[in-house]
């Protein structure tokens, strides 16, 4: 071992050299930080943290972080994100200093009941098992040219696992899980899926605009345009146009049971009444 004075010299040298190095660089960095500083909005990160983070893309941006950037930049509205819960929306709004637009939660509704055994099968289909793929090939196996094709594109696109095929090959929405992001609406090539506020309960689950004879020929659950529902409610809230009954959710306020029972093909259905309570 070396004698103690050398050790002290070592220690002093170490302290001095390290201290010197540290001092020089910290001065340099402090200077540089002042001179070269580029302003960035710290809000972006905070907002991105509050967003759902599902990156579903229904806001129209490339994921939540990108949306946050545009939101903070004032290029878009918070309402563009249909997934955001009220808590997060409020927090973000407070950060950004804008008002929250309160809207009722909307969920997806599949406007077709023409599953296997209900709708006629017109042909065999061979190829990619997706609705969009089948649109190129005569619309797949089901004879109805308006209704669900049953290959489940809506199921695959749902980022929240809120839509599933039932045993008849018709997608069913889990109203508790659905956030109303609208991905399934986009994905459906037949536009069978619609977004509706939770307060809407009565739906005509059919899209067939053919006349009664033709719609009956392809599907036993089709709206045949018989106008019984229209008469049952005295024309308030139910309208038959283009051989298809349409509910006017604004006007229709009567007891729900009436038209649903009268409909000869049972295509007027109460949806989600039970699970709301």
């Amino acid at each position: 071992m070396v004698d103690s004075s050398l050790i002290y010299a070592d220690i002093i040298g170490a302290v001095l050299s390290m201290g010197g190095l540290g001092l020089i660089f910290s001065i340099l960095i402090t200077l540089a930080n002042k001179k070269l500083h580029v302003e960035e909005n710290p809000q972006i990160e905070i907002v991105a943290d509050l967003l759902p983070g599902a990156n579903c893309g229904s806001c129209g941006y490339a994921g939540c972080a990108n949306f946050a950037e545009n939101l903070t930049g004032g290029k878009t509205q918070l309402s563009a994100c249909p997934v955001c819960g009220p808590d997060a929306a409020e927090k973000i709004a407070r950060i950004l200093g804008v008002e929250v637009e309160s809207g009722e939660r909307r969920v997806a509704i599949v406007m077709c009941q023409g599953g296997d055994g209900t709708v006629k099968k017109k042909a065999d289909y061979e190829g990619i098992q997706s609705c969009i793929g089948a649109t190129f090939v005569g619309g797949g196996e089901r004879a109805c040219s308006y209704g669900c094709m049953g290959y489940g594109d809506c199921v695959t696109v749902c980022p929240f696992d809120a839509i599933h095929m039932n045993d008849k090959g018709i997608p069913v929405v889990d109203r508790a899980k659905c956030t109303g992001c609208g991905n399934c609406v986009e994905a459906c090539p037949r536009n069978v899926i619609e977004l509706h506020p939770l307060s809407h309960h009565v739906f005509v689950l059919c899209r067939n605009k053919d006349n009664g004879k033709n719609s009956r020929a392809v599907c036993s659950a089709a709206c045949i345009g018989c106008k019984i529902c229209e008469k049952a409610v005295d024309g308030i809230g139910f309208n038959v146009t283009d051989n298809l009954a349409v509910v006017d959710h604004e006007k229709y306020t009567r007891e729900l049971v009436l038209p649903t029972e009268k409909c000869p093909t049972k295509c007027i259905v109460i949806v989600g009444k039970a699970d709301e309570k």
Partner: protein, 445 residues
């Protein structure tokens, strides 16, 4: 001499022997016709008739609603029974004018030969073509008058007549060239005049020697029209490939034949043009090849537009029991039908009936990167990659690799040893990308 052709492509078994020697036969006037208002590329027609109205053969019953559109005519005389949705061969259902015939086939007027077509002005010819409702009869059904009205900046110097008929099985164009070579030559000359070009080229694949001979004979008097035999290869009938094959010009990506000074038309179109200009006769009938191993007697028939497929099939002795697939068009690009109630439309070049013996059973294997599809793609694309990127929904990469240039000729899926539905996947990709582009455009406006 080495025959001209384009690069890559495939050569499927032809099966033309089934009907190539069957002379054209005229189908009896059908009892009823279903005339779709939308048979062409562009805007659909607006019906001009009402339910219960009587019409005569050749009467305009649907008016075009835009420049890229084409009128439709009654193809039999009788009464309009209804205007409603019926099964359409191109899609699922479509609006059609349903006419029940009176059996008389009364024409709206007599059509005299106007022998002095050479005195007509260009615009007058184009006008006659438009009024006659002529569209490309090769299969794409692009309104012909649009092709004949190029913008002034485009200098057109060559007219190419498409006599390739590269699709297997189909023989309609072949029979027309053999039996109606004079009309084809006349139509070619009219079209050349309409376009004001001095050079005409007729491309015919080498597997139709009788057609080549007939066309050479019919055009021998005109030394500005040349018949070029081509090596048999699919898809030589695609415009871009044909232009490459006959005059060795490359149509730019996303461009049209006009961009290289060329207009291409099909032989059937030429005949229709000849009849429209010289006899003032609208397009109410076309030649259809009814072929395939599922039909008892394959034939080439002249059928009125709107005739249900069932009538044509019956005329050819009906289907065999094991027929499983009905295709409108050829086996490479044709569209399968789920019913025989669909009508013949202007684009129906053939009805192909296949039995379970000739329908391939698809068993999809994983892609083994063999690159065969790349060796087959006439557009020099990478089909396997395009399909895969479309499958994993990586639209950006798919577009970067040129998915929108795909002509959907089916060469890739034809050669694929893994039997991957490449064309269908690419179509989905194209559809989605175009949708997104449209949306992006709307968003920026």
């Amino acid at each position: 001499m080495k025959l001209k052709t384009f690069k890559k492509g495939v050569h499927p078994e032809e099966y033309k022997f089934l009907s190539e020697h069957k002379t054209l036969e005229r189908l009896p006037i059908p009892e009823e016709v279903f005339i779709p208002v939308h048979q062409h590329i562009g805007a659909p027609c607006r019906p001009l008739v009402e339910k219960g109205q009587t019409v005569k053969t050749g009467e305009i019953i649907g008016q075009s609603t835009g420049f890229v559109s084409s009128p439709i005519h009654a193809t039999i005389s009788g009464t309009v029974k209804t205007i409603d949705n019926f099964p359409h061969p191109l899609g699922i259902n479509g609006l059609m004018i349903h006419i029940t015939g009176d059996g008389k086939d009364e024409w709206i007027k007599s059509f005299d030969e106007t022998s002095n077509w050479e005195n007509l002005l260009t615009d007058e010819i184009v006008d006659l073509v438009q009024k006659a409702g002529i569209v490309g009869l090769g299969g794409a059904a692009f309104p012909t008058h649009v092709k004949l009205s190029p913008s002034k900046e485009k200098k057109i110097d060559t007219f190419v007549l498409n006599g390739c008929e590269c699709e297997p099985y189909l023989t309609a164009d072949h029979r027309m060239m053999v039996e109606q070579s004079e009309e084809v030559a006349l139509g070619t000359r009219i079209l050349m005049k309409a376009l004001n070009v001095s050079r005409g080229v007729i491309g015919v694949e080498n597997n139709k020697p009788d057609a080549i001979a007939a066309m050479e004979k019919a055009t021998s008097a005109f030394n500005n029209i040349e018949v070029i035999p081509l090596k048999v290869k699919y898809p030589q009938g695609a415009e871009k490939m044909l232009i490459k094959a006959v005059i060795n010009r490359n149509v730019p990506t996303g461009g049209l034949p006009l961009d290289v000074g060329v207009v291409v038309n099909n032989v059937g179109t030429a005949i229709a043009v000849a009849e429209a200009v010289t006899k003032n006769k609208p397009l109410i009938e076309r030649v259809v090849s009814i072929t395939g191993d599922g039909i008892k007697e394959p034939k080439n028939v002249i059928a009125r537009i709107g005739t249900p497929f069932q009538n044509l099939i019956d005329f050819c002795g009906g289907l065999t029991d094991n027929t499983v697939k009905i295709i409108m068009g050829g086996p490479m690009m044709g569209i399968t039908q789920h019913t025989l109630n669909v009508p013949v439309i202007k684009a129906t070049s053939g009805i192909l009936c296949l039995t379970d013996l000739s329908v391939i059973k698809h068993k999809e294997y994983p892609c083994i990167q063999c690159g065969t599809c790349i060796g087959a793609c006439p557009m020099n694309l990478l089909p396997t990659r395009l399909a895969r990127f479309a499958q994993v929904e990586n639209w950006q990469m798919a577009e970067d690799l040129g998915i929108l240039n795909c002509v959907e000729c089916g060469s890739c899926a034809f050669v694929c040893p893994s039997q991957i539905p490449l064309v269908q996947r690419i179509r989905i990709g194209k559809l989605r990308i175009n949708e997104m582009k449209r949306k992006a455009k709307l968003a920026t406006v």
